[in-house]
Symmetry: C2
Subunit: 144 residues, 2 copies
């Protein structure tokens, strides 16, 4: 998502483009990873635009609500966030032993298959599907 794009998204929702919010989105743009609120907070501390931890939580939630970020859960007791990137999509491999999380980009044929699943699910359950997440759990190369 380009610089302009997410600012537009905020404006469309009547959300002010504040410096904390810009700084938070920039953390994810510089650092394309799944970060927890505390990690974002720590990261900001090193830069010139700091933000209180409450502001970080509030904005992660807000940015998630408008789709600029999304929330992922790796079972470590805290939420993690990632910047939303379309159409390139990725999912996660979580190591059951050390907790390491590896991202994987879509495997060939995956998006087609997911579309088929979505169509089926919409028919059966009447859900309007907006997104999905796939998690694989197992042992990473180091732990197995």
């Amino acid at each position: 998502m380009s610089n302009h794009e997410w600012e537009k998204v905020l404006k469309k929702h009547n959300i002010k483009v504040t410096s904390s919010r810009m700084a938070i989105v920039e953390v994810f743009e510089e650092n394309r990873k799944h970060l927890s609120a505390e990690e974002v907070h720590e990261y900001l501390k090193k830069g010139d635009q700091k933000a209180g931890i409450a502001t970080v939580y509030r904005n992660l939630d807000l940015l998630t609500k408008v789709g600029i970020l999304h929330r992922v859960n790796f079972g470590d007791g805290k939420d993690h966030f990632e910047i939303t990137q379309r159409p390139i999509h990725h999912h996660h491999l979580v190591c059951n032993k050390c907790g390491r999380v590896v991202d994987y980009s879509e495997i060939m044929g995956e998006s087609e298959f997911v579309s088929y699943l979505e169509k089926e699910l919409t028919q059966r359950y009447g859900f309007k599907i907006e997104s999905h997440q796939i998690y694989f759990y197992g042992l990473c190369d180091k732990c197995r």
Copy 2:
């Protein structure tokens, strides 16, 4: 998983078959849903074999470690647990508005596709994959 089966699993791991543990597994057998710790605790209160909340948490964790239960996360801030059923597998549709969770059983072709993904991922990342979870998010029939 039959009555005998999970008792065997516990014994194999040198875990005592206590009445709290039996009661907890029974909650899931009677009530095939994704329950939170607090919900399990409440459910037990109504029966004759009660258990303290700490015991509930400890045993949910233990039963998950040995594979009798598994943990799912719907983004409501608490862990949920389900009884593990093989080979019939299911995943979840989560409503972004009301939080309702609908289970869906595997769609035709799904397990074959997941096997293919697992093989690819093992090759690429060296993960030994043990399980997976798929979540679809959107609006349920009532909320859309």
